[in-house]
Symmetry: C2
Subunit: 229 residues, 2 copies
């Protein structure tokens, strides 16, 4: 079967930069390409847009199919359209950033992917296509975004302590933060709820566990509040 058009068309693909947080490091999910172009190379999860599908749905679908990852926050990152970015032909890629809480969940290689694995952001293998470029752009975006949007909570478990949050922000922003001021700022925003629970299995005073309160956050937004680190 084949499809005919009056004018030439570039193929449309989606690629996802999936961030996770584990072992005190930012991580990115990569797949090892199966029986296709650039076989055996590590690459971002992604694939071609199907008929009558939004790019958002394509990204969700590919992520599920190739890595088993499902509930994540997805956001458009950038469009990469250099005619030579894919050796085969002109393929434009709509890149997405995804944030996930579950770095330890079972990752399952699927369709088109020989393997799927988390890699520390600062120790990545060589990548297929222009995916190193995509990751570079994504890294910048993550940093910018973290300054003014509460994305830290998307990378941590639902309940977390401030001792978990601070190193995460330090990793994203690439600089040290002062404990006291970080705590005052975050708690002072009034967008966290104290669960009353405490950390367990630590050899010192247990930290309190908080939850991000999306309702409070949205309400504050409407009154001109700006999250800012």
């Amino acid at each position: 079967m084949s499809f005919e058009y009056e004018y030439p068309r570039a193929a449309t693909a989606v690629d996802c930069v999936v961030y996770g947080w584990g072992d005190g490091q930012l991580k990115v999910m990569l797949i090892e390409r199966g029986n296709e172009t650039e076989e055996g190379q590590w690459a971002l999860p992604g694939g071609f847009l199907k008929e009558n599908e939004t790019v958002e749905n394509a990204a969700k679908r590919e992520l599920r199919e190739e890595t088993g990852i499902t509930y994540v926050s997805l956001e458009q990152l950038y469009v990469f359209s250099d005619p030579n970015r894919d050796k085969r032909e002109h393929v434009i890629s709509i890149a997405f950033i995804a944030l996930t809480k579950r770095v330890t969940h079972k990752v399952k290689a699927g369709t088109d992917a020989a393997d799927a694995q988390w890699f520390p952001l600062d120790d990545l293998p060589s990548l297929a296509f222009d995916h190193d470029e995509i990751i570079k752009v994504a890294r910048e975006r993550l940093k910018e975004k973290a300054r003014f949007q509460p994305i830290g909570f998307d990378l941590l478990p639902t309940e977390f302590c401030l001792r978990d949050l601070q190193p995460l922000y330090e990793a994203i922003l690439g600089r040290k933060l002062e404990k006291r001021n970080f705590q005052k700022k975050i708690l002072g925003m009034g967008i966290l709820t104290n669960t009353g629970k405490k950390e367990t299995n630590v050899a010192h005073r247990a930290a309190e566990l908080y939850k991000f309160d999306k309702k409070k956050y949205r309400a504050k937004l409407k009154t001109g509040f700006l999250f800012s680190i």
Copy 2:
């Protein structure tokens, strides 16, 4: 002539939300569609991606062809990919935001455009496709972007006075600013150069003319400086 592919492909288009500043108002450039789908409707300048062309170049080309606008700052806005956004078939649109200094320049309708015209942002005609949605997203982006990036200077002539800059920012941000504090903040940033020249033809004390100093701005950025209004 026709083009055949193994799988179905959506068509790729680009659309530009071009902002201008004139008569104390934010304006958007629209074209009246010629001999095509939705003929006679007003729409954003844009069109289909050509073979081996980046989306950025396509946007530049369409802008030139349809409106005669050339040197502008262009930036990716968002990808609109609802399968029903175009009645004909699945067309995904890569939308761009463009800023231009020259609201009064000669606008020339060209290929595929019966007419091209500036419209005040708050008094737009009904639009083809999902272009009202695109403009809505662009409006939000402009506001966000203006908070932390010096885009105001892209909308004003190279030389301008603070009296011009302030109402522009008030229009973009949708709120009044205090004269003294605005001036202190902008000049305090150290990214403007006083040209030594003054306003002319005003019936009161002439304001000093400034230039945005891109070099100074870039240098400051490296030292951690953040533009912020």
